[in-house]
Each structure stands twice: as C-alpha cells, then as structure tokens.
C-alpha cells in the first residue's frame, strides 16, 4: 500500500545539518497494524511524517498506489492527505472553541460522512457532544481526536505517541479503542511509540535507531491492550 524506498531527511543547514532519516526503506501492507518503536530522537516521527505526506523526504520515493508522493506539490500533498490519511497526535490538537460534535465534523466533512455520530458513539462519547475540549479529560480528548480521524474514513491511520500524554489505564483504553475500531473498519495503522510493550499489539514491529531501521519483525501472536505490560 505504501512503499518507502531509500528515504532520507535532513534538518538544518551548514554545520548544523543533521540527517534524521538515513535511506530508510519499508513496505506497509493494506490492513496491517504497524508499530514503530525506538529511543527518543531515533527518527520515528520523521518516518511517520514522511510516510503520511505531512513532509517530503529530501531523497527517496514514497510510492502510494503507483504515485510517488515525494514528488507532489504542497497542494497535491494536501489533496493526498484529504483522500487517504487520518492523524492522531500526542497533543490531541482539538479546536478549543468548537464542541465535540463540531470537532469531529472537521474530519467527517472531508469524506462527506453524514453518519459521523456513529464514530463518536463508538468511542463512547455520545453524551459529550456539546462539551468543549477544555471540559474533557486527556483521555476523552484523545477519544475525540480518534473519532475526528476516523470520521474521515481514512485508508491509513497515523498515530504519533497517542498515549504519550496519558496515564497507563487511560492509555490502555485508547489503544483498545484503536485496535477494536481497526478490526471493525479495516484501515491500516501506523503507530509511533517509544513504549516497547505496545509493540506486542502489532502485526509488524519496526525498530529504529539513529535514523535507521534496525529490525523489522512480525508477531506470531498479537496481544490486546490489556494484556501487554506498560
């Protein structure tokens, strides 16, 4: 589904030029559950941003059903994200002056999804439709952001440390929602986390270290969010 071929990314210029991604190649298959782990600063977010069309690599190709999105203009990249991707970030980034219903609508409108309240229900927030983000707990806000991403009916969901700001119990609940919804809707998941235990939930684990992929392996047996360590 996404074929990352020899992708490199540099930050800064001159003396402070720094290679965050060193000719990385990775194949992501449709319907897979991928977890990218590694130490802080190892280039996980950079890989995710490039795979998802948030950023362009400086070198290499990102082939998405025969188009190389590395060669698209900003406008075309925006169109690409509009059609295919969903995002969930550590910091939620809900719009503070819109209530839950309207925040989810942000995703739903892009897919012409009229039944988006189903997704709100699926994350257990049907009684919070009129609440504003500031009135919700961190876990509830992250559930809103899951609903917002899924209301868009993405083919691939990208998550960057979705549980990074949450306590263990809330974190497990969030992960459980994600894996349950993946089974229900069948989208592909690419999740970045520095928590190695979460890797046990994945079909495929990608380990990174200083800008390179050091290991890729498949779990013969997936664990649920409540079975993994933390």
């Amino acid at each position: 589904m996404i074929d990352i071929v020899n992708a490199s990314k540099f930050y800064g210029t001159g003396q402070s030029r720094f290679q965050a991604l060193k000719s990385v190649s990775l194949k992501l298959k449709k319907g897979g559950f991928y977890v990218v782990t590694g130490a802080s600063g190892s280039g996980k977010s950079t890989l995710l941003n490039i795979a998802s069309g948030l950023e362009r690599p400086d070198d290499g190709n990102i082939i998405y059903s025969e188009t190389d999105i590395a060669g698209l203009t900003d406008k075309e990249l925006t169109q690409f994200r509009r059609k295919h991707t969903g995002f969930i970030f550590q910091q939620y980034y809900l719009l503070p002056n819109l209530n839950v219903d309207k925040n989810v609508k942000m995703g739903a409108d892009l897919a012409g999804n009229k039944n988006y309240r189903e997704v709100i229900k699926a994350v257990g927030l049907e009684d919070k439709l009129q609440k504003y983000p500031g009135e919700l707990s961190g876990g509830q806000q992250q559930r809103v952001s899951i609903a917002r991403a899924l209301a868009k009916k993405p083919e691939i969901l990208f998550l960057d440390e979705p549980t990074g700001a949450l306590d263990e119990q809330t974190g497990r609940q969030i992960l459980d929602y994600i894996s349950t919804l993946q089974r229900e809707y069948g989208f592909t998941v690419v999740m970045v986390t520095h928590n190695l235990n979460i890797a046990q939930m994945a079909d495929t684990v990608v380990k990174m270290n200083s800008g390179k992929i050091t290991e890729i392996y498949s779990n013969s047996e997936k664990k649920t969010a409540y079975e993994i360590g933390w």
Partner: protein, 382 residues
C-alpha cells in the same frame, strides 16, 4: 522580565493611535487657549459668531477624535496584554509558583505605557510643528485677531504624561487580573484547549459545514478582531469622505490632516486585526492542512467572516460623517456667513469605497498568502 522593551515595538498600532489623538487635541486645545486669552478683543457680531463656532467645533473635534482614539487604544492595549499573557503564561506561572503576587508578576507589563508615551510625545511635537500653518487657516478671512503661539505645559501633562502613566497602569492591572487563576493552569501546556471555555450553546437549527462552524465560532470568540475590523473601515469611510468635504467647506490643511489620520488609523487597525486573525490561528490552520483542507478552505473559515462586518463599518462611517457635517454646517456654523450648505457627496463616497475595497482586499490577500505559508510542521513544533 516577562515583557521587555523589545515587545513594545509590536505595539506600534497603539503608538500611532496615541500620535493621532494627541496631534489633533494639542493643535485645537492650544488654539483654544491662545484665542481665549484675546477673546475680549473680539467685538464685531460676525467675529463673535465665528469665535463661538470655532470653539464648539474644536471641542467637538477634540472629544470625538480624542475620546474615540483613547477608547480604541485601550481596547487594543487589552488585546495585546492578553496576547502576551497567553504567550508568556509559563514564565508568568513560574513567577507565581515562586511566590510573586499577581500584581508583582505583572509589573513588567507597565512598559507598554512607553508606546503610548512615545506616540503621544511625537504627536505633541508634530502638532507644534504644524501649528503656525493651522493658526493661519483657522483665521484665513482675517475676522479674528491674529494671535501668537504660546506653549502650554499643562497640555504636555494632560495629553502626554498622564495618558502614558494611565496606560502603563492599565496594562499592569489588566495583566494581573488575567493572572488570577491557579498556577498549575498557567504552567500546563494547555494554550489551546484549556483557555477560558467559551460557551456557545447556540440553537443547532441548521447543520452547517465545518468551515462555516469554524467561521461562526471565530467571530464569536474573537470579538476584539471584529471590533477592530469595523473600526478600521469606519475610520476610513468617515475620515476620507469628511476630508473631501473639508476641502470645500473649510481648508485644504484640515482636509489633509483628517485624510492622513483616517488612512493611518484604518491601515494600522486593519493590519493588526487581519494579522491577528491568521497569527492567532496557526495551529488550527496547520491542523486543517494536515487533515487535507485546502488553503482556500482555511481562508474561507478564518477570514471571510470579517468581510460583511468591514463593509458594514464602512456604511456606518458614511452615515456618521454625513450627520456630523450636517450638524456642523446647520447648527454650529449657522450664524457664520460664507459657509456653503452641505450636501451628501456621492462621488466622494464612491471613491472612498473603491479605495477601501482595494485596501481591504489587499490585506486579506496578504493574509491568504500567510495562510498558504503556514506549514503543517507547526503542529509538530512543541
């Protein structure tokens, strides 16, 4: 230092306002005082009528421009104080955590008074520079006695020093009021989500699209920007049209001064408001783009809502200047000869509207370009 002298440069708009207000007021008040001193020499009925008309006219000019501008400056100042409190809330939170009181933590905001002081002082000096010319045009028919320009220190006190102190105090007190919340809510990075929750439980009659909802909520939660947009077009409309009429009714100098002040005020507030409309929303823009909303959709959601307000402000300004001049000509100057009747100047209104439309759409265009430049990476910079 939470805010320093460098930050005051961002307050140029307030300095410009102070400049304009003090410029107009100094000129008229100085003239009033000087001519008041020789009022016993005015004997002929014609001159007496002109004298009293002059007095009411300058009182009106002072209270209108001074009052209007003072209020707007105060609103603008509060806007900036809020901006900086939000921007520096972590530093402020740390001060509070260390045991500073709200007032002590806010002290450095007093420096904002300097921008008012600087603008006012510049306006004061400019007024004295233009005064010889102004005195001449006030008495161009030679009806009133010729008078010399005297310097009045009390004006310096009332128009420059006291406003400077007042605005410094206003900044400190408003900042300290905004800090009246638990330390932890200042320290937590909750810039976007845990601000004051604006309850907008409106009737959910029509199902609006997301961009329409966002536009609506932006107008409701950012009332200061709506105010500035309206004020900008109001000033532009009223003052440029008044300037055209002034050219005919009174003097070219007055017309030019009014035109200059109007255009300056309109531009500074328009730039302030439109750049705040984008600058205060960069995270929202980045998030919308990450989701795949196009630049055009971001622009519709964040900028288009202000357009009706701006043009309404223009209409309001047109009506206002019409009434004002009507009153001036028919009531204040009714005993003075040689004042032509005032009729609505359609040509001036059309020229002014066209100029405003160009200015406004240009500002929006620049903002649209800024929206295009907002990178999705904004959301990753934490």
């Amino acid at each position: 230092m939470i805010v320093g002298i460098k930050d005051t440069s961002r307050l140029a708009a307030i300095a410009v306002m102070a400049f304009c207000a003090v410029f107009v007021c100094t000129m008229f008040l100085n003239y009033n005082i000087d001519i008041g001193a020789v009022s016993s020499e005015i004997t002929s009925p014609e001159a007496k009528a002109l004298y009293s008309a002059m007095l009411s006219c300058s009182k009106m000019a002072c209270s209108l421009s001074g009052g209007c501008l003072a209020i707007t400056s105060a609103v603008m100042l509060l806007f900036y104080v809020k901006h900086y409190v939000t921007l520096r809330k972590r530093e402020l939170g740390i001060l509070k955590a260390l045991g500073y009181t709200d007032l002590q933590a806010s002290m450095s905001f007093g420096i904002f008074g300097i921008s008012v002081l600087a603008g006012a002082a510049a306006g004061f000096c400019a007024a004295y520079a233009v005064m010889p010319l102004f005195y001449k045009t006030q008495n161009k028919d030679g009806l009133l006695p010729d008078i010399d320009i005297d310097f009045h220190p009390s004006l310096l006190l009332y128009l420059v020093i006291l406003p400077g102190i007042f605005f410094a105090a206003l900044s400190v007190f408003s900042a300290s009021r905004m800090l009246k919340k638990p330390v932890i809510s200042l320290l937590k990075d909750t810039l976007q989500t845990n601000g004051k929750i604006k309850k907008l439980r409106e009737s959910s009659s029509a199902e609006l699209s997301f961009t329409a909802e966002l536009r609506k909520s932006n107008l409701k939660t950012k009332k200061a920007l709506v105010f500035f947009m309206v004020f900008s077009s109001f000033c532009f409309s009223a003052m440029t049209q008044m300037s055209f009429s002034m050219n005919e009714l009174s003097s070219f100098l007055m017309g030019a001064i009014i035109m200059l002040i109007g255009v300056t005020l309109a531009c500074t507030t328009l730039i302030l408001a439109s750049s705040a409309a984008v600058g205060g929303n960069t995270k929202t823009i980045a998030m919308m783009k990450a989701f795949g909303y196009s630049d055009k959709e971001c622009r519709t959601a964040l900028l288009d809502g202000y357009r009706p307000w701006s043009y309404a402000g223009f209409a309001l300004g047109t009506g206002y200047q019409y009434l004002l001049l009507k009153i001036a000509v028919n009531i204040v100057f009714k005993d003075v000869e040689n004042i032509p009747d005032y009729k609505f100047d359609l040509a001036a209104a059309i020229v002014s509207l066209a100029a405003f439309a160009v200015l406004y759409e240009l500002a929006i265009y620049i903002c649209a370009k800024r929206i295009e430049r907002v990178s999705v990476k904004e959301i990753m910079l934490e």
